[in-house]
Amino acid sequence: MNRSFYIYVAACLFSFSTSTFSASSELAPRQGMSPLDKAKVHSVQAQNWAKMGKAGYDAEEVTERTTEGSSVSGIGSRSCTTNIGTTTTKSGVSSGKYGPSKNSDNIVIIKGDVVSLCK
């Protein structure tokens, strides 16, 4: 009786641990957009639809604010920089002088791939 009880408890623990590990197997789970960001995306798309006179759209929306690129400094080198929805302020005397001073909305919707390549 005791042995079967221990086997039952061990089985329960094993099944619990495997279910926990399988649930957290995704290392970087995709997080959805906040309702505010989603509303902004829909707003931009609605404006474009209104221009096109088109009602339907079925692709999934993706919004990102990223800076992608690679560069090698020096003469005779190549560089490629992709800024998407970013605000870059250079340091110096005029730091903070230029660019948007109040509220700033940067919305980028890209359906296809984003490729940045230095070769």
């Binding site: 190549r78 800024n83 110096g92 700033s104 940067n106 890209i110 230095c118 070769k119």
Partner: protein
Amino acid sequence: MKNLMKTGLAVGLIAVFSVATANAKVSIGGNNQQSVDVKGAVSNFAMGAGRATQNLASNSGKVTVGGNNKQSVDVKGAVSNFAMGAGKATQNLASNNGKVTIGGNNKQSVDVKGAVSNFAMGVGHATQNMASNNSED
């Protein structure tokens, strides 16, 4: 004498160019709204030692907007920017580059249905900005 004339002409051209660039200033007292709708693709190529700059609904240089600023670009196709050889390709979509001052609210949006690619090959320089703000001294 011939060389002196050539030198004088070169200096003159440089002077004219620098004066022209120094005076390139845009000042908008009220609101600013820029929108571009492209049905096809958008591409920008710089080859050899060439320089290709493409601005869509963008502010570049010394620009002052007193009121609100709204920039939008809608592209149905793909967007590509290539710099090959020693070329320099710069592509701006709904972006502000340089000494751009905005007094009011700012809204920038880019909607691209296709892919976005940015390539630099050889010793080329490719810069691509979308709904971005880059200030400089």
